[in-house]
């Protein structure tokens, strides 16, 4: 055993280049798996801690429902009943402008009790004083750094015609309340100072409460009962979901699957070559008495040792790189939100075990197959074997291809499992059909080149189909090519949707506090607003054909008015009679009606649900009559919008979101109107977003996601390129004898080089042809997968990307060929021909 172990270790060290490539492949796949698995929880943790951080220890927020036109109230107006909160902080806000480094900045001024804010982890003063004088303010460390502000510096804030002067009295860590600072400036001061700015006294605009978590629900109920003029919300509900976790997770899983597939294919291909190379040595072992089982174990051990070394190095590197990788996905990093990196032992062990066992597992069947050969064949077999095209492989390949498309057509409800299975079958079928496809391309090329007198050119073309090693290279290039194409199509499709498909139906959108119609009415009448539309949105689920479907339910006063207002919505087929006669009429997107085979007149049951997809208390499934279909692709990417009459909505669906959509009058800009709204309603907890900001934010999210995926796929490409280069290099070593034979009987070294170049060009041609058809097939099947993760948009085959990948392939092949040319000219032909 000691000798065998020594042999294994020696092999690894002696074959330096090949070992380096195998180890690097294992290292990268382990690394990507661990980082990929860890990212989602890390980003979730970062965002939730940021969210939580914005409110410190508070778990309830109370605002006034401004029926009287004023958002302010005295603390005593809030009836806490018998509740004694653990902590309570009253806030009042104002806004203004200041000039910093010649740039005009929007300033938010929070008036509050800074000692209580410190107690509730809302601020953390690191320099200066916590207790503030009347005109002093606390700024964030980020603002201090960005604008070179120090304790004692003066800040002039203008608000309308008034100017206020503040002195920097303290600098806080950029956490807690300062999370909301983003690109602007946030000043924290004494609440009386802000009261003075409004010309009022002892008033507040919101109250943060910290109550025992277990009493939260009962406290909310009693507070709501005792304070009809106040909105009481949980902190978590107060914020809408910041990120689309499911999409992120799905795309991340997809990336992991792709990289694992590339690694698997590279390792599998390497094991094939390594085992072929090892066979004569194995024969020698067996000729001196080692049995097949022992040989299996020796080879298995070799791959296991590779796995152990590669995965351990991979894990060490992954642990080091995880914080940097997580930072890439932290969209709020530039606003000072620190990425909270945690190392999950389960993910660590999963990746480690994967890296250790993966190569051994992949090589296992190949080892068994190789050692099944008779001893004589093992001893004398050379690696130069023709490519065999098994009839069954071709039949299975065609069957798998057909099955992949069959699954595509059967997958009417865009199920994710069927979509993944269909894609997987396509890849397997491409690999299985590759020899036949190459043979076809080679035959066509031979026919075209029939009149050519260049024998080496013809031999090169023939080798693509007939030579196992060359065919293996083409297969590997093809699989990596298609996988990268898959990522490219998805990324380009998502990107295109965000930038092109989404229609600019509004200039400003703002979310309104619940039951606050007064503000909505006021804003509609504000200067600069030319048109407005109020949206009442809730959620619902329905079981259609045994599949659960989610809908975004919108209450609509006038269906035609809605159609007129939103360019992104087009009614396809409307039954006006049904719409007017049925109080429970519903208009669905045609994507949904086609998917679930629904027609006008059909009835469906929709269960109202909350943000967590749980049925709303005391609600029951409501029967709705399909009364129209629409194309809402320019309105929402998931195409699951459903419009119902407003009275029915108000009666049975709780309004989760109340939004106001505004168009801006000519002569005004969206930013000006937004500023005017935020200034006027700074104390009303309104979230005001311009269309460009929304698009920018969506684009930023997508860009971050795509950046991250590009990073992971970049690593996959490195693995793929390493595999391809290794294949080409190893194949050169294995083909040395073939070159020597050709040299000895009929070819010059120049002719051998030309034959290799001909192989390279035919390989490239095969990649272009198979890549084109494979890419188109992939594009069709991939659409289902992207639909399954909520991206209901068109995903076109991008010729630009296809061309780029072709360019990468030709560069890679050319570079590899240059190295081969040099090697052929330096090859000692005599050494390769067996003689004493």
């Amino acid at each position: 055993m000691k000798i065998i172990m020594k042999h294994v270790i020696k092999n690894i060290f002696e074959k330096k280049l090949r070992s380096a490539i195998v180890l690097l492949t294992i290292l990268l796949s382990t690394l990507v798996l661990f980082i990929g698995l860890s990212l989602n929880p890390i980003i979730n943790e970062t965002y939730s801690s940021m969210l939580q951080g914005s409110y410190g220890n508070a778990n309830l927020v109370v605002n006034k429902n401004a029926d009287d036109g004023s958002p302010f109230y005295e603390t005593s107006e809030l009836d806490l009943g018998e509740l004694t909160p653990l902590n309570q902080l009253d806030l009042i806000q104002a806004s203004g402008k200041t000039k910093l480094h010649e740039d005009e900045k929007t300033v938010s001024i929070y008036g509050l009790d800074t000692e209580m804010a410190t107690e509730m982890d809302l601020i953390d003063v690191i320099t200066g004083e916590v207790k503030l004088d009347h005109d002093t303010v606390i700024i964030s460390q980020r603002a201090a750094l960005d604008y070179s502000l120090e304790i004692g510096d003066r800040l002039e804030v203008t608000r309308g015609n008034d100017t206020y002067e503040f002195v920097v009295g303290g600098v806080s860590k950029p956490d807690g309340l300062f999370h909301s600072e983003k690109g602007n400036l946030l000043l924290i001061t004494d609440s009386q100072k802000v009261n003075d700015m409004y010309g009022i006294s002892s008033m507040v605009a919101s109250t943060l409460l910290q109550v025992p978590a277990e009493e939260l629900d009962s406290v909310i109920t009693s507070l709501r009962e005792g304070n009809k003029h106040f909105a009481v919300q949980k902190i978590n509900d107060a914020e809408t979901i910041l990120r689309d976790e499911q999409t992120f997770q799905m795309v991340m899983m997809l990336s992991i699957i792709i990289i694992v597939l590339i690694s698997a294919y590279v390792i599998s291909s390497l094991t094939k070559l390594i085992i072929t190379e090892r066979l004569p040595v194995m024969g020698t072992f067996r000729s001196v008495g080692a049995h097949k089982g022992m040989m299996n174990r020796v080879l298995f051990l070799e791959f296991f040792v590779y796995g152990v070394i590669g995965s351990v190095f991979g894990m060490v590197l992954a642990v080091i790189l995880l914080p940097y990788a997580a930072d890439v996905f932290n969209e709020y990093k530039e606003y000072g939100v620190e990425t909270i990196v945690t190392y999950d032992v389960v993910y660590l062990l999963t990746a480690l075990l994967f890296g250790m066992l993966f190569p051994a597992f992949i090589s296992f069947f190949r080892i068994l197959k190789a050692n099944r050969k008779p001893l004589k064949e093992v001893l004398f077999d050379t690696s130069f074997t023709p490519e065999k095209r098994s009839k069954w492989t071709v039949i299975l390949g065609i069957l798998f291809l057909a099955l992949s498309f069959l699954l595509y057509f059967l997958n009417k409800y865009d199920g994710i499992l069927l979509a993944i299975l269909s894609l997987l079958l396509l890849f397997i079928s491409v690999v299985m059909l590759m020899p036949t496809l190459l043979n076809g391309i080679s035959n066509i090329m031979q026919m075209i080149m029939r009149s050519s007198s260049s024998g080496e050119l013809k031999l090169g073309i023939k080798n693509i189909a007939g030579n196992k090693i060359v065919a293996n290279n083409v297969s590997m290039i093809m699989v990596v090519f298609l996988l990268l194409l898959m990522v490219g199509i998805s990324s380009a499709g998502i990107d295109r949707y965000v930038t092109n498909t989404l229609k600019k139906d509004f200039d400003i959108t703002l979310s309104l506090p619940s039951n606050n119609q007064a503000i909505a009415n006021e804003i509609k009448e504000m200067d600069g607003v030319s048109a407005s539309y109020e949206q009442f949105i809730s959620l619902g689920t329905s079981t259609l054909n045994n599949v659960e479907a989610s809908f975004v339910i919108q209450g609509v006063h006038d269906f035609m008015e809605m159609d007129d207002f939103f360019e992104g919505i087009t009614y396809v087929d409307i039954d006006k009679d049904k719409l007017t006669s049925h109080k429970n009429a519903i208009i669905l997107d045609e994507y949904m009606t086609k998917k679930y085979n629904l027609s006008i007149g059909d009835s469906i049951e929709i269960q109202p649900v909350d943000l967590n997809n749980e049925p709303i208390e005391h609600s029951k499934p409501m029967e709705m009559i399909v009364s129209g279909t629409m194309d809402s692709s320019g309105f929402s990417s998931s195409r699951n919008s459903a419009f119902i009459p407003q009275p029915f909505f108000e009666a049975y669906f709780a309004g989760i979101f109340h939004e106001l959509i505004l168009r801006v009058e000519n002569g005004y800009t969206a930013d000006e109107v937004k500023e005017s709204i935020t200034d006027t309603y700074i104390n009303h907890d309104l979230e005001v977003v311009t269309f460009d900001e929304m698009l920018g934010s969506q684009k930023a999210t997508i860009d971050t996601l795509i950046d991250g995926i590009t990073m992971i796929i970049g690593l996959g490409m490195v693995v793929g390129i390493l595999g391809i280069s290794n294949n080409l290099m190893v194949s050169f070593n294995q083909r040395k004898k073939e070159y020597a034979i050709l040299y000895s009987v009929c070819m010059s070294k120049g002719q051998i080089v030309r034959m290799l170049l001909s192989e390279m060009l035919t390989t490239f041609l095969a990649v272009v042809i198979i890549g084109l058809f494979g890419g188109i097939a992939l594009n069709i099947l991939l659409t289902k997968l992207l639909y399954a993760i909520g991206m209901q948009t068109e995903f076109d085959f991008t010729f630009g990307l296809f061309g780029l990948l072709c360019l990468v392939v030709i560069i890679l092949l050319s570079l590899s060929s240059l190295s081969l040319v040099r090697k052929v000219f330096k090859l000692n032909m005599i050494k390769e021909l067996r003689y004493e």
């Binding site: 490519e387 024998g455 031999l459």
Partner: protein, 240 residues
């Protein structure tokens, strides 16, 4: 030696060597494998080179074929110094004027019998269709007409060696160099192959130089060159 020179004066030499030396570096030492060899092989000869393992017979054969390069000395093929030729010229020479037959056949495994035989034709930028008759004739000679579309893996050792011989014959070379052509075959098949070589030599007048360990195989030739420690012993003529 006199007899050797005498023959050379009578006939044009096919191939000859002058003070041919070949040494390999093993560590820091130069080991001489071929040492000052002067031989002349005439057109139509069937020469067998024999000697113990390590005597340099195969090295000599590869030097004669221009596959290997000497450390010093010269090899003349039809009075042309082959080591003065460029790689391209040497390849053309090997393709058109010489044929090689190896102990392990050295066929291209992914090509059929017919394609293997026509390999020198295609590499010489000639049209395979123009060699249809020669191909049929050679396949007839080597007895593989029925297996022209088989790949080497589907053939026995003897059949593969026949393919190698046919490949060597296709461009009607002046010289065939064979390195232990029956070393990997059973005696019956070996005899068949040697008879084939004999017929080729007699009927086509092709000069054959073979390296062999077999005395029986050597008897098919008309000359025998014995080698020992890289040097040629006294040549022997075999009366036929």
């Amino acid at each position: 030696m006199n007899r050797e020179l005498g023959r050379h004066e009578e006939m044009a030499s096919m191939i000859r060597t002058e003070k041919l030396c070949k040494s390999f570096k093993v560590g820091s030492n130069d080991i001489a494998v071929i040492n000052d060899v002067d031989i002349t092989i005439d057109s139509g000869d069937f020469v067998s080179i024999m000697g113990p393992s390590g005597s340099g017979k195969s090295t000599l054969l590869y030097l004669l074929g221009g596959i290997d390069e000497p450390t010093s000395g010269r090899v003349f093929f039809q009075e042309k110094d082959i080591n003065q030729m460029k790689d391209k010229e040497k390849s053309r020479l090997r393709r058109t004027s010489m044929g090689f037959v190896f102990q392990f056949y050295n066929l291209v495994q992914n090509l059929t019998v017919e394609e293997n035989i026509l390999l020198p034709v295609t590499m010489d930028r000639k049209k395979p269709a123009d060699y249809h008759e020669q191909l049929n004739e050679i396949l007839e000679i080597v007895g593989l007409s029925e297996r022209r579309n088989y790949t080497p893996r589907e053939l026995s050792g003897g059949q593969q060696q026949r393919v190698a011989i046919a490949r060597a014959l296709i461009l009607n070379p002046a010289l065939i160099l064979a390195d232990e052509p029956i070393g990997n075959l059973d005696s019956k098949t070996g005899t068949e192959i040697m008879e084939l070589f004999y017929r080729i030599n007699k009927e086509k007048g092709i000069t054959i130089v073979q390296v062999t360990h077999s005395e029986e195989a050597a008897e098919y030739g008309n000359r025998l060159i014995r080698m020992k420690d890289g040097m040629v012993q006294e040549p022997v003529f075999i009366s036929k």
